[in-house]
């Protein structure tokens, strides 16, 4: 009787372990970023790509109601793909686009903008990538929708698409 009880106990234990690990199999092991919506954007200081002027984030995000902060690089393929989307968003008067040029060659970045158009009102160089890390980014491209109080309304991970435009328009209403 006692042996039977022990066997059942062991079986139950293994069933429990199996269930836990089986459930975990369904979970994606790819990192889903922490929900940072509602948080205030970290302060940063950077150099403008255009004229090498030093600028503070406080000065960058002043005057407009909404901002789209986009981390990009000329070497990043998804950034090339999403560029047309950014050009489309640029036409919206409610929003101002700020670019963070991540670990890029200055000349290549400028060539990229001449060839594909410049959707950004300001571009900040992030030569060592520290600004992006302090913003909580984990890949290029990455986009943050921010209000004038520098509160993050939405973070878009990866390439923007047509649905992102719809979502941004909805959030701006």
């Amino acid at each position: 009787m006692k042996k039977k009880f022990n066997l059942i106990l062991i079986l139950l234990f293994f069933c429990f372990c199996f269930f836990v690990f089986f459930q975990a199999l369904n979970n994606s092991n790819v990192y889903i970023p922490n929900n940072i919506s509602g948080k205030v954007l970290s302060d940063f200081k950077g150099i403008k790509l255009e004229n090498k002027e030093v600028v503070n984030s406080e000065d960058l995000f002043s005057g407009n109601d909404y901002y789209l902060l986009n981390i990009w690089a000329s070497w990043c393929l998804p950034c090339r793909k999403e560029h047309s989307i950014l050009m489309e968003i640029k036409d919206n008067n409610k929003i101002k686009l700020i670019g963070i040029n991540y670990k890029d060659n200055e000349l290549n970045a400028k060539k990229f903008l001449i060839k594909n158009g410049n959707p950004f009102s300001e571009i900040i160089q992030d030569k060592d990538g520290m600004i992006s890390i302090n913003l909580g980014a984990y890949g290029v491209p990455e986009t943050y929708l921010i209000n004038k109080k520098r509160k993050i309304i939405k973070k878009f991970v990866g390439q923007l698409n047509k649905n992102s435009i719809k979502e941004i328009k909805l959030l701006l209403k």
Binding site: F13, V20, N29, V30, Y31, P33, N34, I36, S42, Y102, K103, D128, G129, M130, S132, I133, N134, L135, G136, A137, Y138, G139
Partner: protein, 123 residues
Amino acid sequence: MKLIKILSIFIFIFLFFFKANSEEKKNYDLVNKISKNIRCLVCQGQSIHDSQSDFALSMKLVIEEKVSIGLSEKEIYNYLKSQYGEWILYDPVFELKTLLLWLLPLVIFLFGGWIIFRNSKIT
């Protein structure tokens, strides 16, 4: 008198460099220690200490900066956790959510020990 003056200058310079070096070494060790416990954002099976991805290198620079301004290990972990969540740490915090993770090996170990003890008693 002059010799003492020169000697004391030498000792001062030596101590200054020695202190600077030991401080540098201490900071270097702390950066390494923290880097080993931070998950790489790109190659997620590696720590940023082992990874050579762009984001891992940038994160190491951020850690170096935080260490140089005098932030403690815990403060740096908290900062990175606030930006990336608990996931960024390899060493998960002991809390209700991670209770099973921490206690299950101990339970299995004790259970195994109990079986061995019982069997040895029988034989």
